[in-house]
Structures are given as C-alpha cells and as structure tokens.
C-alpha cells in the first residue's frame, strides 16, 4: 500500500487527497534531469504558479498572523497592535469553548460514521453481486454534488412536520424531533448529511483497498483453519490499515473545513449549536458583529489544529508498517 499525504488546498475549496511515494518526499534527485542548466526557462515555467501562490497563499497567511494581533477599526480601516488580546478574548469566551466542543463533536461522529459505514459498504460491494458497479456509482454520486444544494434538499427532508423523515418516523410511531430548530438535534442532522455526502468516497477507497489484497492470503488463512471473522481480523483489517489511516486524516481535515452544509442548513445555530471552528472564523470576519482580529485569531487556531494533524500523519506514514502483496 502507498504512503499517503493529505494536502490542504490554498484556494478555499477542499482539495481531494493524494498519495505519494516516500521517495519524492525525501528530495532525491529526479531521474530525468538530463538537460543543461536552463535557468531562464525554469524561472519562466515556475513563475505563474509561484507568483500567484505568493500573492494569494503565502502573503495572506503571514498577513493573517499579523491581523490576529491587531484590532481593526472597520470604519477607517486603522489597526492597533493589541498583542494576544484577541486570543485571550476568544479562549475566555464561553461561545468559543462551545465552538471547540462542537468541532470535536462534529469531527468524531462524522469520522466514525464515514469510516465504519464506508468499510461496511465496501465489504458489501466487494462481493460478487450483480449491479455492483452501478451501486458503487450511485453511492459515490453525493460526493460530487455541491454541499449547498444537498444541504437545502436535506433541510426539506428534516422539516419536522411535513418532511420525509417525519413521515418515515411516523411509520414507527416515533414523533419527529425538531431537527434544525432544536439545539440538541441540529448537530446530529448536520452529521447525517455530511456522512451521507462523504461515505461514498470512503467506500470507493476501501473497495479499491480490498480488491488489492492478494487472494492467496485468504487461502493461506483458510488452510490454517481461520473462520470468516478471523480472516477478516487477521488479513483484511491489517491490509487495510494504511488506507484507513489515510481516510482518517482526510476526513478529519475535511470536517475541519466543512462550511457550506452548515451555512445553508442552520447558519451555525440554533444558539451556536452547529457553529464549528471554520464557521466561527467566517462569522467573526463577515457576520453581523464583524471583528477581523478575532476572526484571524480563530483562523490561526484552525490552522494550528490542521497542521498538527498533518505533522502527525507525516511522522506516522514514515514509520508505518507495510504489508506488500
């Protein structure tokens, strides 16, 4: 299995995952460097990408750090250096503590949902069934769709009085919760939508991983007298571990950046029940009580969290145990 690295896109959109060989991370000399030094052309080729990255990724990242130490007056655009006050403010504020808790709640539940259901779906579709390619396509489709659009569809489904879910629950004589209007049920609703949208991606990756497991490993386990459950535990799970780790990291980074579903379904409410870190960054920066300094400070917290995950992943994949087929 491949070593993997989950990138974070610099353009606001969530970048899809990427796998790579460790070779390329250790900066070995590329094999095909056979031409003479050609600085001018090299600079010309590098220029568009590097210029735009500098202008819209590197420079703003540094600027964001500076803004997080400032109080910006939005009327005359004058800024005052206030040190760590923005960080002190947000960490002392009960709302922000709730935001951190919401982010953890959302991330952990979504992660478990996506990984467990994704693996189960992959195990199902790995069997010799008719229509399984078609089923894989159907399961994958939501991943492709705009979160804003499907958030609206699900808001209709969650309508507590006339929605689809209310009807299905009524078959079992269960009264529908208020879903998006109820602080206790709004986050579960968001999690359901997010899992629905992303489980197909995880299932597709797991399926590719399952199909890459050599059949003779199962045969050998069978000869050793292992039953189906033991074959799953001793062959399938270990062989899938690199891919599971990759999905874990990409899902966590994805949930940290999830925005559009919350924006259309709940706008972070009710009573901040669905305000995650990224939504807080947006709300502080561009909401009614805009405060650029606090938004920038919260964004730095988000950045620190994502960087931590990425560094853990780099170290883990470097030392990862590999099972070569």
């Amino acid at each position: 299995m491949a070593e993997v690295v989950a990138p974070v896109s610099g353009s606001g959109a969530t970048a899809p995952p990427i796998a790579t060989n460790v070779d390329s991370l250790t900066w070995e000399r590329p094999r095909a460097s056979i031409w003479n030094k050609d600085w001018f052309l090299f600079v010309l080729f590098m220029f568009p990408n590097l210029f735009l990255l500098t202008l819209f990724t590197f420079k703003p990242a540094v600027q964001n750090l500076f803004i997080s130490f400032q109080r910006v007056n939005l009327l005359n655009n004058k800024s005052k250096w206030i040190g760590l006050d923005n960080y002190r403010y947000i960490f002392d504020h009960p709302t922000f503590q709730q935001v951190l808790w919401n982010t953890l709640y959302f991330t952990v539940c979504t992660l478990v949902g996506v990984l467990v259901l994704g693996l189960l779906i992959a195990l199902l579709l790995n069997q010799r069934l008719r229509f399984r390619d078609g089923a894989r396509a159907v399961v994958f489709a939501p991943y492709l769709l705009s979160g804003a659009a499907i958030g609206i569809v699900w808001a209709y489904i969650f309508d507590p009085r006339f929605g689809l879910l209310a009807q299905i629950l009524s078959w079992f004589s269960i009264p529908s919760p208020g879903w998006l209007n109820d602080p206790n049920w709004a986050m579960p609703a968001i999690i359901i939508v997010y899992v629905w949208k992303n489980v197909g991606f995880a299932a597709t990756i797991f399926l590719a991983g399952l199909q890459a497991i050599p059949k003779d490993l199962y045969e050998a386990a069978k000869i050793d007298g292992a039953n189906a459950w033991w074959r799953f535990r001793s062959v399938t799970i270990p062989m899938l571990s690199p891919i599971s780790f990759f999905l874990l990291v990409t899902t966590v980074l994805g949930t940290f950046q999830a925005f559009d579903i919350q924006r259309v379904m709940t706008k972070g409410g009710p009573a901040y029940a669905t305000t995650t870190l990224v939504y807080y960054v947006y709300d502080q920066g561009f909401g009614n009580a805009a405060n650029y300094g606090r938004s920038a400070a919260a964004a730095m917290v988000l950045f620190a969290a994502m960087l931590t995950i990425t560094i853990i992943q780099f170290r883990a994949t470097r030392n990862q145990v590999h099972y070569d087929g």
Partner: protein
C-alpha cells in the same frame, strides 16, 4: 465470501442483495425527494402524509424558480469561474510540475519545499487578507477608480494557482519512461517541444485527473464566492441558490427544490456519462502510488 453449504450461500446472497437495495434507497431517496418536491404545489407540500409522486406535477415551479433569482446569470458565472479557474490551474500546474521534474537547476528542491509548504496552508486563513486585498489594496496599488470586490477576477485569481495539482502531476511526470525523454532530447527537442509533444501525451491520464478534480472544485466552490460577491448578477449557482433559499424562507419548498435541481442535475448528467472517469479521477490520489 462463499459459504460451505448451498442454503447458507443462497441466504447470504439474499441478505447481500437486501443490504444493497437498502443502501441504494438511503443514498437515492434524497435525490428522488428533491425531484418529487420540485413538482409539488404549495398545498401538496403541506399535506401529511406527503405524496411520493405528485398527482398533478406542477412544472411551473421551475419557471418560478428561474424568475425568482437570475439563474441564467448564475449559470454563466459558474461556467466562467469553472472554465477560467480550471484552465489557469492546468497551465500553472503543468508548467510548474514540468520545471520541477525535468530541469537540472540549483535550488530546485527548495522550490519543491515551497510548493509543499503551500499545501499545508488552508484556504480559511487566507480568506480575510485576500478579501482586504481585493478591497482597497488592489485599488490603491493599481490606481483604479474602484475596488475588485464583486468581480470575476476576484473570484478566479486566488484559486488560479495550484500546489496540489503541481504535486500530483509531478508524481505523474516522474513516472514517465526515461528512454522516451532521452530520445526526444537526442532528436534535438527543446523543453517546450518536449512538454507539448512528449510529456503531455504520455501523462494524459494524470493531467485529465487533475482537470476533473479542479473543475468539480470550482463548480462547487462556496465560501470564497459567498464572501467576495454582493450582487445576484455576480453570484455563481451554489451561492445564488442559497439566496433563493434565504429569500423564499422555509415554506416555498416546491420552488426551492426546483432551483436546487437546476444546480444538481447538470452535474448528475455529466456523472452518468463519465462516472468511470470521475470516480477514478477523484480517488486517484488515494489509490495510485
């Protein structure tokens, strides 16, 4: 996994097909519910239990949605953002990946580290400074009469470069057979000719993969266009749909579902015809290598 006895085998198959049917229902029903809702009248929306298929479909929901907000403009804006954004990312990414793969120059690895560093920076921390940049900064810098908030260049430029695409395509370029590149060199081909006639044709799958990833990201992009636009005339589909939803409130579900269908259906149609390409493209990063 085949069981020992036939009856076990058959019941296993039945259970598997049952599970598959349930799975397809859970995944498919929201889309069905969107289409069904888009054809319901106000009265049909507010009846319980709801009808699964509206008895007299109300097609005028679609024209009502189209007239409530400028969907024609939304389409044009999304197409412009996607086409220019993807093209720019392809040009930036291919050139940069080629330079990092085939030029033997000092500090090349340093440049590669820069690209990797850009991969680590999430878009969320660049949004506020970029917003300020397209506000007063760009106006003063270029001596313009007005700022670039609510313009196409503001929506496209911050996402025109690509660290991810550079990385992905460099991986692809590095895997190309060395002897073909040597042969091109022997024939006296320069870098531009080698890129166009040798590298791009051979690395087509990875370039197409990145093009698909880029196009889907641009089509669905939400946070940045939401922030940087302030009139309906400039909004892309995803953001414009949100404003239809916000304006109509939680009651005109028929019209809102019709508007949602405008956003979802083009992508679903493309998916039906190119599903193999798209699934392989979007999962390529994880399964190759």
């Amino acid at each position: 996994m085949a069981s020992n006895t036939t009856s076990q085998h058959i019941s296993g198959k039945v259970a598997a097909y049952g599970a598959m049917a349930l799975l397809l229902l859970v995944i498919g029903i929201p889309m069905f519910w969107m289409l069904s809702g888009s054809l319901k009248s106000y009265a049909e929306i507010y009846t319980f239990p709801p009808e699964w298929i509206p008895s007299n479909p109300r097609w005028s929901n679609y024209s009502d949605a189209w007239n409530a907000v400028p969907f024609g403009r939304f389409y044009i804006n999304t197409i412009i953002i996607t086409a220019f954004g993807m093209t720019a990312q392809l040009i930036c990414g291919v050139l940069c990946a080629y330079a990092l793969s085939f030029f033997n120059v000092p500090f090349r690895n340093g440049f590669m580290i820069l690209i990797l560093a850009a991969l680590m920076i999430p878009g969320e921390i660049t949004i506020l400074p970029n917003y300020l940049f397209f506000g007063n900064t760009v106006r003063d810098l270029l001596g313009l009469d007005k700022n670039w908030i609510n313009t196409y260049q503001a929506m496209i430029l911050p996402g025109a470069a690509t660290a991810f695409g550079t990385f992905l395509m460099r991986q692809g370029f590095m895997g190309l057979p060395r002897d073909v590149l040597d042969a091109a060199k022997m024939d006296g081909a320069g870098h531009l000719r080698t890129l166009w006639d040798v590298v791009l044709p051979m690395a087509k799958p990875i370039v197409v993969t990145f093009a698909i990833i880029s196009a889907v990201n641009k089509w669905n992009d939400y946070l940045w266009p939401l922030i940087v636009t302030n009139t309906n005339e400039m909004r892309p589909l995803t953001v414009g749909l949100t404003f239809l939803f916000d304006n109509e409130g939680n009651n005109e579900w028929g019209v809102i579902m019709a508007g949602t269908a405008f956003v979802v259906i083009p992508l679903l149609i493309v998916f039906v015809f190119a599903q193999r390409f798209i699934i392989e493209g979007l999962t390529a990063g994880a399964t190759k290598g």
